[in-house]
Amino acid sequence: MEIRPDEVQVQLMDFCKKHFVHYHDLQLELSDHLWSAIETEQAQNPKLSWDQALQTVYGRFGIFGFAHIVRAKESAMENAAAKAKRKLFWEYFTLPKITLTACLWLSLFTLGYWAAPEQRSLPILLLSLVVLAWAWWTQYQQEKKFKGQKLPLLLTASRYTGIPAVGMVLQLVVQSRFFAAWTNLAQPFHLGPYALYCSLLVLCFVAVKAQDQFSENLYHKAKQSYPLAFA
């Protein structure tokens, strides 16, 4: 049976899917490779049918088929995502963004500096709740955007790494301050630990901001590179 040229890649992508490649971006790359290799095979041996050529070409991927490539790509994408997030995070500790980070820390610290030791729990508790709510909100907004993605992409699959850690730290801050305030409202909160909590909050804020920026960049890159996945 003759396959129409515009159907070839779709069929080869289905072939990849049947061989456990579920990501659209990797399916596209592998199907192009298969197609080019089949064309070469058939040029060398015109009697070879499409299916026979496909099986010959697939055989070159070894006994594990595409599995090794999928694993290697997943690992590469996770490392790339972690590296990109780290880069965005550290940008807040180098010029010019460090001025924003320093101002934020100083504002938080000044807020508690002038307050009595017994009243310092309150701003930390409130601000932790604000950062936590903001983290959830930005995540919700990003997910709303990614809902438009109809096909799975390896490129966007690694966007969640690191989020649970930020959430856990923020929840720990909120809980520890909440229980401190609950058990003894007048419990003194010395400047040293207060400064530490301020730093922790600023770190969480920067981590959420970096994650948000990363998701935003990733969304645009994915949409631009693989428009069919968002159709």
Binding site: D6, Q9, L28, S31, D32, S36, R60, F61, I69
Partner: protein, 112 residues
């Protein structure tokens, strides 16, 4: 000795060099070009090429772009500025390695 195993250690340098010369290439094109350049001595398997390309992309040495060519969507790989630097470095290292090998074998011939 199988010459293919000698080439395998230089695969990364070969791919970087090819991309520097050609500007941008797609996966299958790289396998064919390497086969052609080494007169069939080195046949890069797909299982070796793609993990290498993905690793180099993750390291920021390669950048990718997709384009519709002859009814198909094709992914191209090209060197980033860091990749261009790495390519030149890899060539120098490779030349030094070849020089060292030459020295080893010259020395051994002299012993004989």
């Amino acid at each position: 000795m199988n010459k293919s195993s000698l080439y395998k250690g230089c695969l990364e340098s070969i791919v970087l060099r090819l991309l520097k010369e050609q500007g941008r290439m797609y996966g299958y094109q790289i396998t064919q070009e390497v086969k052609h350049l080494t007169a069939g001595e080195l046949k890069i398997t797909e299982g070796a090429l793609y993990p290498l390309l993905h690793k180099l992309e993750e390291q920021g040495l390669l950048q990718t772009s997709t384009e519709k060519v002859e009814n198909r969507i094709r992914k191209y790989y090209a060197l980033t500025p860091a990749g261009k630097k790495e390519s030149s470095k890899a060539l120098v290292e490779l030349k030094q390695f070849v020089q060292q090998l030459e020295n080893i074998f010259k020395l051994q011939t002299a012993w004989k």
